[in-house]
C-alpha cells in the first residue's frame, strides 16, 4: 500500500511541473517601438544580439553575413549579428507553432523572405510591422516609387519588409558546346529541336522552374494582363492557353521527352555541370561568374536573356512577430539596405543591389561601377533594361497546378 502511494506521489510530482510551466505567462514586450525615434532605437539596440534566419545553402552568402555584415554591425552599432541557416518553410513552421503556443518572445529576429511566403506570413500575422518607414536608409537609398519597393509579387508590402537584394531570371550555356543564345520563345523551341533531349527546366513548383515557365507565358501571352488577374483557375487557364500549347509542343524535344523533369534547380545545376544538358537557368543574374570563379563552370559559359525581358523580383528582410530584439533587427536591416553593405553584397556575392542609382553620391556610384563582376555575365544596366515584373503571388500556385495537369507528359 505504501509503495502504491509513493508511486502515485511520484507520478503527480512529475506531471505537476509540466502543467505549471504550461500556464506560465511569457514576459511582456519591452517597449513600443512604433513611435520611437531612430536615435532611441539605435540606443536600445546597442550591445544586443540579432539572429537573422534564412536559407543557408550558399557558402558565399553565409560568409558575407557572418563576416562582413557582422563586423560592420559590431563596429558601428555594437550589435552581435548571427546568421542561422534554415529553410523558409521551416522558419514559417516554427513561427506558426510559436504563434499557436502563444509565445511572445521567440528566437528569430530577422527573416529572409519574399513572394508567396511573405504573403502567407503577413496574412497569418507572423510578421512585425509596419517598420520600414522608420529606417533612415529607406529614404536615403531606396527608390520609394519603385513597384518592387511597394509590392512583392504584386501584393502590397505595407512596410512589413525591406528590400535585400534583386534577383533576375537569366539563362546560360557553354559557348564551346552551343554558341547560339535563343532570343525569344520561338528561338528557344528551335534550340531545343537542335539539341534534342539535352534541354529541360526544373519541375514546378521549383522556384527557378516556376519562374522560367512564367517567363515563357509572358513570351506567349504578354505580361501586362497578369498584373491584375484574379487567382481563378479557369480564367488563368484560358489566359495562358497559348503558352500551354507551346509548352506541350516543346515537350518531345526536351530531356526524357518531357515525360519527367528534374526535381529542382539543384538537380538541373548538376546535370548541366555534368554535361547531361546543354543549357541552364538561374535566378541569380551573376551566378555564372561565381561558378567560373569556383571552378564548377567552364570559362566559356555565357549568360543571356530574352529580348522581351525576363522576370525579376526582389527578396526582402522582415521581422518576426515575436522577435526578441526588434530594435536590433531594425538597425541591422537599415545597415544592410545602406550603400556600404549593398556595395559589398554586389562585389562579394555578385547580387544585384537594391539601392537607387540616382540617390548615390558620385563617390558611391564610382565604387559600384568599379566592381568587377567576373566572366560570362551581362552588365547590370542590360539586365535592368530587360526586367519584367512578377505575377501576383496567388497566381503562382495556380499556374503550377495547371502545369502539372496540362503539360507534364502531354
Amino acid at each position: 500500500m505504501k509503495k502504491k502511494l509513493l508511486v502515485l506521489f511520484l507520478a503527480v510530482a512529475m506531471v505537476f511541473p509540466l502543467a505549471a510551466c504550461g500556464s506560465k505567462q511569457a514576459e511582456p514586450e519591452a517597449a513600443d517601438l512604433s513611435s520611437a525615434g531612430w536615435d532611441e532605437i539605435v540606443e536600445q539596440a546597442k550591445g544586443t544580439k540579432v539572429a537573422f534566419y534564412g536559407w543557408g545553402g550558399d557558402e558565399n552568402r553565409n560568409n558575407w553575413l557572418n563576416g562582413t555584415v557582422a563586423d560592420y554591425l559590431k563596429e558601428n552599432y555594437d550589435i552581435d549579428f548571427e546568421y542561422v541557416g534554415m529553410d523558409i518553410n521551416d522558419i514559417l513552421a516554427k513561427l506558426t507553432s510559436e504563434k499557436e503556443a502563444g509565445e511572445e518572445t521567440g528566437t528569430i529576429d530577422m527573416i529572409w523572405i519574399n513572394g508567396e511566403n511573405f504573403y502567407t506570413a503577413k496574412e497569418n500575422g507572423l510578421l512585425y510591422g509596419p517598420f520600414t518607414s522608420q529606417l533612415p536608409n529607406m529614404e536615403a537609398y531606396i527608390d520609394q516609387d519603385d513597384p518592387e519597393t511597394l509590392n512583392d509579387f504584386c501584393k502590397p508590402i505595407d512596410g512589413y519588409e525591406a528590400p535585400y537584394a534583386k534577383a533576375q531570371m537569366v539563362m546560360f550555356n557553354d559557348s564551346a558546346v552551343t554558341p547560339e543564345t535563343p532570343k525569344n520563345a520561338d528561338e528557344f523551341l528551335e534550340y531545343c529541336k537542335a539539341n534534342k533531349g539535352k534541354v529541360t527546366y526544373p519541375a514546378l513548383p521549383d522556384f527557378t522552374g516556376s519562374a522560367f515557365v512564367r517567363n515563357l507565358i509572358y513570351e506567349k501571352c504578354g505580361w501586362e494582363q497578369f498584373q491584375t488577374m484574379e487567382a481563378d483557375k479557369a480564367a488563368v487557364k484560358e489566359a495562358i492557353e497559348p503558352a500551354l500549347e507551346y509548352l506541350r509542343e516543346l515537350n518531345p524535344y526536351l530531356w526524357n521527352e518531357g515525360k519527367t523533369f528534374p526535381a529542382d534547380s539543384t538537380a538541373l545545376d548538376k546535370m548541366f555541370q555534368d554535361g547531361e544538358v546543354v543549357m541552364n537557368m538561374s535566378y541569380g543574374p551573376f551566378s555564372v561568374a561565381s561558378g567560373i570563379a569556383d571552378g564548377t563552370l567552364p570559362e566559356t559559359c555565357q549568360t543571356f536573356v530574352f529580348d522581351n525581358g525576363t522576370i525579376g523580383n526582389t527578396n526582402y528582410m522582415a521581422i518576426a512577430f515575436d522577435a526578441p530584439n526588434k530594435a536590433g533587427a531594425m538597425v541591422a536591416i537599415n545597415a544592410i539596405i545602406g550603400g556600404d553593405l549593398q556595395l559589398t553584397q554586389y562585389s562579394q556575392l555578385r547580387d544585384l543591389p537594391v539601392v537607387d542609382q540616382s540617390k548615390l553620391s558620385d563617390e558611391e556610384k564610382a565604387a559600384f561601377d568599379a566592381v568587377d563582376l567576373g566572366k560570362g555575365v551581362l552588365p547590370q544596366s542590360e539586365l535592368l533594361a530587360h526586367r519584367l515584373p512578377e505575377m501576383p503571388a496567388d497566381l503562382v500556385p495556380v499556374i503550377e497546378e495547371i502545369w502539372a495537369e496540362e503539360v507534364v507528359g502531354k
Binding site: C21, N63, A93
Partner: protein, 263 residues
C-alpha cells in the same frame, strides 16, 4: 573450403559496395568540375578545405556540441532503456507488454509530424531552443531502438547471477554492477552506439526543437546537400562519418579497458 571461398567473395563484394562510394565522396571533397564521361575530375579545388577550416562555421565548436549532445543522448537513452528492460523482463509487473509496445510507438509517427507537434509542447514547457529540449526530442527518436536492444539482452541474461550475488551477501547495487552488468554489456554498447548515431544524424528535429540555436554538424551539412554543392557536401559528409567513427573507436577501446580491469 568451397564455403570459405564463397564467403570471401561475398565479403569482398560487400566491402566494394560500401567502400567505393566512400572513395568517390573522398575524391569529390577536392573536386571543382567532374563532367561526364571523365573517369577522373577535370579540375580540382581547395576551396572546400578553406571553407571547412577557415569559413564562418566554427568547425571545432560545432563538432564538440554535436558530440556532447549525442553522448548525452546515448548515456541517458541507454540508462532509461536499461531500467525499462529490467522492469519488463525481470519484474513481473502487470501491463509490462503494453510498456514494451509503447516503447516502440514513436517509430510509427513520421519524424516531421512528430517534430512539428513536439515543438508546440516544448514551447509550452519553455524548453524550446534549449539543449534540454533537443536532448528530450532526440531521446524519443532513439529510445525505441535502445529499449528493444536492452530488452533482448536483459531477457537473455536474466537475474539468476544477481540472485546468487545477493545470496552471497552483496547489496543490490553491487550485485547488479558485478553480476548482471558484465553480461548485458554488449547490449549496453550497441544501445549507446545506436542512440549516439541517431542523435548525431537528426536534422529536422534538431532544427525545430533547437530553433537553429543548437548547432550540430547535420544542421550545417544538410543545406549544402540540398543546395547541390557536391564538393562542400562531400567534405562535410567526410567529417560527419569520420568523427562518428573516431568516437566509436574511442568508446569501444574505453569499454574494453574497463571490462578487462573488472575481471
Amino acid at each position: 573450403m568451397k564455403d570459405r571461398r564463397a564467403m570471401n567473395t561475398v565479403l569482398l563484394i560487400t566491402a566494394i559496395i560500401i567502400f567505393l562510394p566512400v572513395i568517390v565522396i573522398l575524391v569529390w571533397t577536392v573536386t571543382a568540375r567532374w563532367p561526364w564521361p571523365g573517369l577522373l575530375p577535370e579540375s580540382y579545388t581547395l576551396r572546400t578545405l578553406e571553407e571547412l577550416l577557415f569559413g564562418s562555421n566554427q568547425l571545432t565548436e560545432i563538432l564538440l556540441s554535436s558530440i556532447m549532445l549525442a553522448t548525452l543522448v546515448a548515456v541517458i537513452g541507454t540508462v532509461i532503456a536499461m531500467m525499462t528492460a529490467r522492469a519488463t523482463e525481470i519484474y513481473r509487473i502487470r501491463g509490462r507488454q503494453a510498456v514494451g509496445i509503447a516503447a516502440l510507438l514513436p517509430l510509427l509517427v513520421p519524424g516531421t509530424v512528430f517534430a512539428m507537434g513536439i515543438q508546440v509542447s516544448l514551447i509550452r514547457m519553455h524548453l524550446n531552443d534549449t539543449i534540454a529540449g533537443v536532448v528530450l526530442v532526440h531521446l524519443v527518436a532513439a529510445l525505441p531502438y535502445c529499449v528493444t536492444i536492452m530488452m533482448d539482452v536483459t531477457a537473455a541474461v536474466g537475474d539468476s547471477l544477481e540472485e546468487q550475488a545477493a545470496v552471497l551477501g552483496a547489496g543490490p547495487f553491487r550485485s547488479f554492477i558485478d553480476a548482471s552488468l558484465p553480461g548485458i554489456m554488449p547490449g549496453v554498447l550497441s544501445s549507446a552506439s545506436m542512440a549516439y548515431i541517431i542523435s548525431y544524424s537528426q536534422y529536422f528535429t534538431t532544427l525545430l526543437a533547437g530553433g537553429g540555436r543548437i548547432k550540430t554538424l547535420a544542421l550545417v551539412l544538410v543545406p549544402y546537400i540540398q543546395s547541390g554543392d557536391r564538393a562542400l557536401a562531400s567534405i562535410y559528409s567526410t567529417v560527419f562519418v569520420g568523427s562518428a567513427l573516431i568516437v566509436f573507436f574511442l568508446l569501444e577501446a574505453a569499454i574494453h579497458r574497463i571490462m578487462r580491469k573488472g575481471r
